[in-house]
């Protein structure tokens, strides 16, 4: 599903080049559950961003579902994301000016789908997704009126709105308390199973990484280990 070869990224910082990622080779199978682990500044988020096509690598290529992202223009990558990729962020990143329902509708509408006469179709799907994450009664609330856990569940519903092939998550429980974080992770796993989505998440939360079937560790911008493990038996998930 994901093939990265010789991936590298160099930023210019304070007038000097700063290499945050160098020579990363990676292959992720469909429906895999991969956790990328590493300390702060190890290049985790940069790697995630490159894999998702949010930024262009300085070196190497990324193939997503057979499509070479480095050959696409910014707009083509956007369109590819709209059709194939879902996102969950540490800080939720909901549009503050839209209600929960409208936030979930955004990816669907970006693909060009319009609400039907009675809002049927996309609308129903968004509503059922929000019901699925337990927010059926908060459709018309704005993000500021929701708790952190609720916001992240809206973000989850939004991530699955287009039935993406790949879901990227950046420290999805980072801003949540342990209990809420656990609920969100369980939801994510369930949705992942139901939708047969490939899941790539970045974390430095060991207990969250333990649930993954594969753990890639980064350090200083390089892959230092790549372990395929059997999924841990369902157990307590700790927050940060």
């Amino acid at each position: 599903m994901i093939v990265a070869e010789g991936l590298g990224k160099t930023y210019t910082s304070g007038g000097r080049p700063l290499t945050v990622l160098r020579d990363v080779d990676l292959e992720v199978d469909p429906e895999a559950f991969v956790a990328i682990l590493g300390p702060s500044g190890s290049g985790k988020t940069t790697l995630l961003g490159l894999l998702a096509g949010l930024d262009q690598p300085s070196a190497g290529t990324v193939l997503l579902d057979g499509q070479d992202l480095t050959r696409l223009t910014e707009d083509e990558r956007a369109q590819f994301r709209a059709e194939n990729v879902g996102f969950v962020f540490q800080t939720f990143h909901l549009l503050p000016t839209l209600t929960a329902l409208e936030n979930v509708l955004v990816p669907i509408e970006l693909r060009g789908a319009r609400p039907g006469r009675n809002g049927a179709g996309p609308h129903d799907r968004a509503v059922s997704l929000l019901e699925r994450v337990g927010l059926g009664d908060r459709l018309d609330h704005y993000p500021a009126q929701l708790s952190g856990g609720e916001q992240q569940r809206v973000a989850l519903a939004r991530a699955f709105a287009n039935e993406p092939k790949i879901l990227f998550a950046d420290e999805p429980t980072g801003n949540l308390d342990a209990e809420t974080g656990a609920t969100v992770i369980e939801l994510m796993e369930e949705l992942n199973r139901e939708a047969r989505t490939t899941l790539v998440l970045v974390t430095h939360d060991m207990s969250l990484a333990d649930r993954a079937r594969r753990v890639i560790r980064l350090h200083g911008g390089r892959v230092v280990s790549d372990d395929r493990v059997d999924p841990a038996p369902a157990g307590p998930v700790a927050g940060p």
Partner: protein, 855 residues
């Protein structure tokens, strides 16, 4: 010395904020610049005119009258000469002048002068020294424009009435002159001793007789005026001292300057709104820093003062820059008035204006920054730990109320300070407040309307863009206020300018007369009209003109009426003035009967008996003048026509549209009453072809030297030239307002810029293409621009209508084209400024944008 922590903090924080909000302080710069320039220039004019007061009049004292001075006035002059005064007589009139070589004719102003005039200031001529030699060998001098208009060369001869003069040169500068007078009516100068021989001083000619006096040191012009006031009043002599003449001139500029000052103030207040929105963004951006500072122990006051000091310093910097800018503009302004003021304006740095500019700029920056800065006091330390933590909703606390009161008080105070009169200042402040309130209302209504009539079926970017107008944290109110106010100001200026233009433009319709013949004697009527009829299209319109004064009202003599302070209030002006009356059978299109009856309504012979005597001739009186005279239908007026008195009865009161280019009169007599009274005639004709017009003028001058012909097309040209100057000045002001408005718009859009950038980055992450984001932003900014521009321009149109209708008492017919152009301009400006502000988000990768936000 220990520097308070708040000041240190202000300095440290300020290093970065100078870059961030410094640019918005430029909005202060423009307003301060305008005020400094206008104030300094006003002082320049007053000082320059006062310094030159005597050469502006050309004498210490002047007596002017519409007919030859009486013996009693001459006796006063003789007594003054007896104590050492010098006197020079000048007579002004208009007449046709014919150039013998080029065969051209033109209506010119004639100045017949006695040697010695002017007593102060030097007349420059080309060739030099001709003024002193004026009159030797039958010479005359002319304004330079005359050479061009009559196709003259020096040495050519011209005919004026029955005399001939050789042109000896041109007058380049007459100190007593308003430059544009030469443009309105170019002049010819010759000695007073030659005037009699021209034969122009026939009965009824519109001449003005001046006596210019140079007084000895011991005699004060003011005292002379006071001593003989009663005599002068009774003789309708206008006595003017040098100081009064200077005052008259500066009064005009003073009032104009104060009007300009109000516009400058509006620019400054607009800048204040710009500062407020800039500070609002800045504070939002700083909330986390503030929360952290509060966490580590900074008190509310400390942090608040630190930011207030920053605003004050930046305001001072903006104002300082404004002063420099204003002083530069001040140096440009004399160019606009060289044509209308007789003195050279010496510009000098006016420390009072500079100080006032700096103080005003700083004050406006601080007072407008105050309200958004109060948000800093609301920051809870908890916000450092929990992003998105919302503190309690702001309530109207005392500090907030005080801030609003201070802002309101400042605006009212500044308006009153700048306005020509306190009432006008209050009115201006009220108008500003009403405009802002209406704009605020318009914004709320627009939000409600877009929500109600939301375009549900259009594409996603359009829906998202339109929805941004009413969603939480929308910028609709801020942009409508800033942009709407700018559009309101500029729209009003443009519309008012258009109105003034229309007012001053003669109707160029095909049926409108374009030649005006005056000073026509009744016995010349048939011959002159025969001549005119050959060239003119249609029958010339002839109007008799009878000059008269009021001798009595209801048989009470005018002198008694003026002495009466108890009875009906009557204006002295209306009682004393010379009336040019006419007689005719019908009402004109410009007239409307308000009370009483027109003569033909009653059938009969006309004259109707007063209760106590023989039948009286009837008159119709204009509404305004009737009010000034305190008379109505049925009252009797006795007229003094060249010494003969006629008693009349007011039969009707009527309104007159004076703005029409038609012969209109305060008083119309019924036909028959004035047939034998001494009178002159006015004739109106239309000759479309300019060449035939010129030939006709020439023929009339040759055959009837006393008849004057005014070519209205030429007058229009001259008016256009003067209007061009005024327009340039107005456009200059509009430019100020436009630049100010743009700066404020940038500030207002910046308030939500970061939020829109964040949203756009997120949309990109979720798969939005560049085009889609552009369309969302485009829709939002276009909608904002269209709606805000519409509100502002509608208000501007309504405001101008009010001004024209209630203040100028005019008929306002706005032209759509400039308003539509402005509307389009405002909308495109919003889109351009908005999209330019979002440029970076389109350029950067979504990852970079998202990371920046997380940091």
């Amino acid at each position: 010395m220990r520097i308070p922590f708040s000041l240190k903090l202000a300095w440290r924080e300020g290093r970065s904020s100078a870059r961030q909000i410094g640019v918005y302080m430029l909005s202060i710069t423009l307003g301060v610049g305008a005020l400094v320039a206008i104030h300094s220039f006003r002082d320049d004019v007053t000082r320059s005119v006062e310094n030159e007061a005597r050469s502006i009049l050309g004498a210490d004292l002047r007596f002017s009258r519409g007919s030859a001075h009486s013996d009693s006035v001459r006796a006063v002059v003789d007594s003054l000469v007896g104590v050492g005064a010098d006197v020079a007589e000048v007579t002004d009139l208009v007449s046709m002048v014919f150039a013998n070589r080029s065969q051209a004719t033109r209506l010119l102003q004639i100045r017949a002068v006695e040697p010695g005039f002017p007593f102060y200031g030097r007349v420059t001529t080309d060739p030099a020294g001709e003024w002193e030699r004026l009159g030797h060998d039958g010479t005359a001098l002319v304004d330079e424009a005359v050479l061009i208009q009559l196709d003259l060369e020096i040495g050519d001869t011209v005919s004026v009435g029955q005399s001939r003069f050789t042109i000896a040169g041109t007058v380049a500068g007459l100190p007593t002159d308003l430059g544009f007078q030469a443009a309105v009516g170019p002049r010819i100068y010759f000695p007073l001793s030659e005037l009699e021989a021209t034969g122009l001083l026939t009965f009824g000619s519109l001449a003005r007789y001046h006596l210019f006096l140079r007084l000895p040191e011991a005699v004060d012009g003011e005292e002379v005026d006071d001593t003989y006031r009663t005599l002068f009043r009774s003789q309708s002599v206008q006595a003017t001292t040098a100081a009064e003449q200077a005052d008259d001139l500066t009064q005009g500029t003073e009032i104009l300057g104060r009007f300009l000052g109000l516009i400058g103030l509006a620019a400054l207040l607009l800048g204040g709104i710009g500062v407020a929105s800039a500070i609002h963004v800045y504070v939002k951006d700083k909330l986390t820093s503030v929360a952290v500072l509060r966490c580590i122990g900074a008190r509310q006051r400390t942090v608040f003062i630190a930011y207030l000091v920053q605003a004050a310093i930046l305001g001072a910097a903006g104002a300082g820059l404004g002063v420099v800018f204003g002083l530069a503009v001040q140096r440009l302004l004399p160019a606009f008035v060289t044509e209308v003021l007789p003195v050279d304006i010496a510009t000098s740095v006016n420390l009072k204006a500079v100080g006032a500019g700096l103080a005003l700029g700083m004050w406006v920056a601080v007072i407008f920054a105050l309200i958004p800065l109060l948000a800093v006091r609301d920051v809870a330390p908890l916000q450092a730990l929990r992003r998105g933590f919302e503190p309690e909703r702001r309530r109207l606390r005392p500090d907030r109320l005080i801030a609003y009161a201070a802002l309101l008080g400042s605006i009212v105070f500044l308006c009153v300070l700048e306005a020509p009169e306190p009432e006008m200042g209050l009115g201006f402040a009220a108008a500003l407040a009403t405009t802002l309130l209406l704009l605020w209302l318009a914004a709320r209504v627009l939000m409600a309307l877009t929500r109600r009539y939301f375009p549900k079926r259009s594409s996603y970017p359009v829906r998202q863009g339109v929805a941004n107008l009413f969603r939480p944290r929308n910028q609709t109110v801020a942009v409508t206020l800033a942009l709407g106010f700018g559009a309101f100001l500029i729209g009003s200026i443009v519309l008012l300018q258009g109105h003034l233009r229309n007012q001053l433009a003669f109707d160029e319709g095909v049926d409108q007369p374009n030649l005006l013949l005056f000073d026509l004697q009744p016995e010349q009527r048939v011959d002159v009209l025969d001549l005119v009829a050959e060239a003119s299209e249609g029958e010339p319109l002839v109007v008799p003109l009878v000059t008269a004064r009021i001798a009595a009202i209801n048989d009470v003599r005018t002198a008694e009426l003026m002495a009466d302070t108890v009875g009906v209030r009557r204006s002295r002006w209306a009682l004393r003035r010379t009336y040019r009356n006419t007689y005719r059978a019908e009402l004109t299109d410009a007239e409307e009967l308000l009370a009483g009856r027109w003569w033909d309504d009653e059938g009969g012979t006309g004259a109707e008996g007063a209760s106590d005597g023989p039948p009286l001739p009837r008159i119709s009186i204009e509404d305004d003048v009737a009010r000034n005279l305190g008379v109505g239908v049925g009252d009797r007026i006795t007229w003094d026509i060249q010494g003969r008195e006629i008693r009349t009865r007011i039969a009707s009161r009527r309104s007159v549209d004076w703005s029409r280019f038609e012969p209109n009169f305060y008083v119309v007599f019924e036909p028959g009453a004035l047939d034998d009274a001494p009178q002159t005639l006015l004739a109106f004709a239309r000759v479309t072809d300019p060449e035939r017009r010129a030939v006709l003028q020439r023929d009339i001058v040759r055959a009837f030297p006393n008849v004057s012909v005014l070519d209205i097309a030429l007058v229009q040209q001259t008016l256009d030239t003067i209007l061009g100057k005024v327009n340039a000045a107005i456009r200059f002001l509009a430019l100020f307002a436009a630049i100010g408005g743009t700066l404020v718009l940038i500030g207002a859009l910046a308030t939500s810029r970061f939020q829109r950038m964040r949203e756009s980055a997120l949309l990109k992450t979720l798969g939005a293409r560049r085009r889609q984001i552009l369309r969302i932003l485009f829709t939002e900014y276009l909608a904002l621009g269209i709606l805000a521009g519409l509100s502002g321009l509608l208000l501007g149109t309504a405001g101008t209508w009010g001004l024209v209708h209630f203040v100028f008492d005019g008929d306002f017919r706005p032209s759509a084209a400039p308003v539509l152009a402005l509307w389009a301009g405002v909308a495109s400006l919003t889109v351009v400024v908005g999209l330019a502000g979002s440029r970076s988000v389109l350029r950067r990768t979504p990852l970079a944008a998202l990371r920046e936000e997380t940091e």
